[in-house]
């Protein structure tokens, strides 16, 4: 009776797949909170969560493997009893803020740790200013702040009574 077009789909996103939740894991001590918030978002959206760990360039293979496994363990704990939440684990090297903005292209929301006041590298701020998707910053288990682009509906925005909008770019037809 109707057939939608696939126009506007970004990357691996298909119109009938909810867009991804990206958990940006960097070595800022908040990976567990970020992973937990990302999983909650993914459950709320029935979406996939992509755990992306950004490592600095120049690590030895042993150091990299060790950090890979540590990130994996953090993500597994966040997925505790959420067997149906699909996910991927990715590790990239580079400058964290730029890599996360680049890798979150086409996602629904990017979850990152909130910058501490005395931080020299402000990953959260950069992502909020440059990411194409909503950015959720996290600094504790219940301390989250959403900076929306107005394109999606977050678990946190719903909790806050902030009704989301439908995606104006989404391809519809009758």
């Amino acid at each position: 009776m109707q057939t939608p077009t696939n126009a506007g789909a970004a990357g691996a996103q298909s119109p009938h797949h909810p867009r991804d939740v990206v958990a940006g894991l960097v070595n800022d001590g908040m990976a567990a909170f970020v992973a937990g918030a990302a999983v909650r978002e993914a459950v709320h959206r029935a979406a996939r969560v992509r755990f992306i760990q950004v490592l600095p360039v120049g690590l030895s293979s042993e150091e990299r493997a060790e950090m890979d496994v540590a990130m994996f363990a953090v993500a597994l704990r966040a997925l505790h009893r959420q067997r149906r939440v699909p996910c991927t684990f990715e590790t990239v090297e580079g400058e964290a803020a730029e890599m996360l903005v680049e890798r979150s292209h086409g996602a629904a929301v990017l979850v990152v740790g909130r910058d501490s006041p005395d931080a020299t590298v402000r990953v959260g701020q950069y992502c909020q200013e440059h990411a194409a998707c909503d950015v959720l910053t996290v600094s504790g288990p219940d301390d989250t702040q959403l900076v929306p682009t107005g394109s999606t509906r977050s678990a946190y925005s719903v909790l806050a009574g902030d009704r989301a909008h439908d995606d104006p770019d989404r391809p519809d037809n009758t």
Binding site: A73, H80, R83, P86
Partner: protein, 591 residues
């Protein structure tokens, strides 16, 4: 906030207009039309009851959905109908069952809708909708190419226990008007479709519960089968092969693998089941015995957490954990992959991996909890089987210890006493020949005591415990690499106490039997069964092409000689529908 309905609401009743003065003819006409309306209402009620019965008559979900759409079209005289099933996100349609369009017409239209435009209106605001012209609605985005033009529209949500399962969409009311497709759906149509949707919700719920219970029963049967195989003596590798096969079937997956920790703590792939390899894909048997080194695996098992990986075509990077599993056999490069740890309490046993086709995304979420339950049961079963083996070994060691103790405490002491007595008697003997014979008897007793002490030493010697059973298990495991698949192995009965040469013959039979399968049979599966009783029987069976008459039978002749030297025989028979069974039987020589 929900706005007032924007579509044109239609008049709700067909009552005749009031008139100030009724003529007799008008009155009769009014009565006649009311009687006709009553008849029509009764007919529709009867049709509704028939439809309710029809949609409840089957428990197969796809049949139920098709019946619902067909009945809905018949009830309200709609030319086209469809049932859209909502996905887990509650925002998109993941299944679309259409009626009124031929297969060719559906193919010409292309992808089924996912729930945008007017169809999405019912998803966002799940309540009945009637439209005179669907294309004129502000939410409409028009029809795709090759789609028939549609005007009148009636949509109703289907709920199951307060949750919206999907929506019924009907178009093109076929009214009494001569101009087809020009009629509108009425309030009666809407009411009757709402009633049908309520019954449909119950029918769908019943069908889903039935399907779930049937699936659950099959998973439980698999658990019971693996338990039985392991506790009846099948070796772990074969039982895990069976587990991988059944897991792949039940999960409707492309590949299933089982890896278990070995005695030195390596996580080793014990079974892989996938379809026939194509292209560069490896044969599943070729990866058996591979150690999974990456730290991810240990972390996954240590955390006791199942994980559902999902990679899609176009992803910016490859998930290496998912790729590690999918590359073990012939699976799509992308798609869902479940990793489920096998644990028993705090003990870490291994992991089950399952990989699905790329288009199975909507299906797998319900399978992962079943896999987790299966893995938990398999963990318990493995622990029970290993416990059984350990108890059996312990009993054997205790038996050896008891025999050694008895020989030392009783047999040697009595022989020693007898020797002393004979020595005393020899000193008293006057005849030289008697004295010599008594001395010889004492020497024989000394030799016997030495032999017994040596036997006691052997019984107590802490040799690495590697019995015949383990040798056969290892032999079959190694042969899997040559064969390209893991043969199943069952050892029924005790193989303890066999003479060394008999053990050697037994090993030779298994080796030669499997070598023949690898060389000649072109088989896809094989089984080895060793049965120990009054006789010992070894059966090596395959599903291959059989033994060619021209084949060289020197190996078989050797096996026959080995059987005959133990009072046994060798037979080679064809199996039905295909394959060969080699049966070697002999009287055991026991130590």
């Amino acid at each position: 906030m929900e706005s007032e309905p924007r579509e044109s609401e239609l008049s709700k009743d067909g009552a005749p207009p009031a008139t100030e003065a009724f003529e007799l003819d008008d009155l009769l006409e009014d009565l006649r039309s009311r009687a006709q309306a009553s008849d029509r209402a009764q007919e529709r009620l009867a049709a509704l009851l028939d439809a309710v019965l029809a949609v409840s008559a089957d428990l197969d979900l796809s049949d139920v959905l098709a019946r619902i759409v067909r009945c809905a079209c018949e009830l309200v005289d709609a030319r086209y109908g469809a049932l859209g099933v909502l996905g887990a996100d509650g925002e998109h349609l993941v299944e679309f069952v259409a009626h009124g369009l031929s297969q060719e017409e559906q193919e010409a239209i292309g992808d089924p809708p996912h729930g945008y435009g007017v169809l999405g209106l019912l998803i966002r605001q799940p309540r009945p909708r009637r439209l005179r012209d669907v294309a004129a609605h502000p939410d409409s985005h028009g029809f795709p190419a090759n789609h028939p033009v549609m005007h009148s529209f009636l949509g109703v949500p289907i709920r199951i226990r307060d949750e919206v399962f999907g929506n019924l969409y009907l178009t093109e009311k076929q009214g009494d008007t001569a101009k087809q497709g020009d009629a509108d759906f009425t309030a009666d149509d809407e009411a009757i479709l709402v009633a049908l949707a309520a019954a449909a919700g119950i029918a769908i719920d019943n069908a889903r519960l039935y399907e779930r219970s049937r699936r659950l029963r099959r998973w439980l049967e698999t658990t019971a089968e693996v338990t039985q195989l392991l506790l009846e003596g099948m070796d772990e590798a074969s039982a895990m092969g069976f587990l991988a096969t059944r897991t792949r079937e039940l999960s409707e997956a492309q590949l299933a693998m089982v890896a278990l920790y070995d005695e030195v703590g390596d996580l080793v792939i014990r079974a892989v089941e996938s379809g026939e390899p194509s292209g560069a894909a490896r044969r599943p048997g070729a990866v058996l015995g591979t150690v999974l080194h990456k730290g991810y695996w240990r972390e996954l098992i240590a955390e006791h957490e199942s994980v559902l990986l999902l990679t899609r075509l176009g992803d910016s990077t490859v998930d290496s954990l998912s790729a590690d599993v999918r590359e073990l056999g012939d699976a799509d490069p992308h798609g869902p992959t479940a990793l489920v740890p096998i644990t028993v309490g705090d003990d870490e046993v291994g992991v089950i991996g399952v990989a699905w086709a790329a288009d199975a995304e909507t299906y797998v979420g319900n399978v992962v909890p079943l896999l987790a339950a299966l893995a938990q049961e398999i963990g318990l079963t493995l622990a029970a089987a290993r416990g059984q083996q350990d108890r059996s070994r312990l009993a054997l060691l205790e038996d050896r210890d008891r025999i050694a103790r008895d020989m030392h405490d009783h047999v040697i002491q009595r022989l020693f006493a007898t020797g002393l007595s004979l020595q005393a008697a020899a000193r008293m003997a006057e005849s030289t020949s008697v004295r010599r014979r008594l001395d010889e008897a004492v020497d024989d007793l000394d030799a016997a005591i030495k032999d017994i002490r040596h036997t006691i030493f052997e019984l107590h010697r802490p040799t690495p415990f590697r019995d015949l059973r383990e040798e056969i298990v290892e032999l079959v495991r190694v042969c899997a690499k040559t064969l390209g698949f893991a043969p199943s192995l069952t050892i029924d009965g005790s193989l303890e106490g066999l003479a060394a040469d008999f053990e050697a013959d037994l090993i030779a039979v298994v080796r030669e039997g499997l070598a023949n399968v690898a060389r000649h049979a072109q088989a896809s599966s094989a089984s080895v069964r060793v049965t120990s009783g009054d006789t010992i029987q070894v059966e090596v069976a395959d599903d291959g092409v059989g033994v060619a008459p021209s084949a060289v039978h020197s190996g078989l002749a050797n096996l026959r000689k080995r059987a005959e030297s133990h009072g046994g025989s060798l037979t080679l028979t064809a199996r039905t529908p295909r394959g060969t069974a080699l049966v070697w039987e002999a009287l055991p020589d026991r130590e």
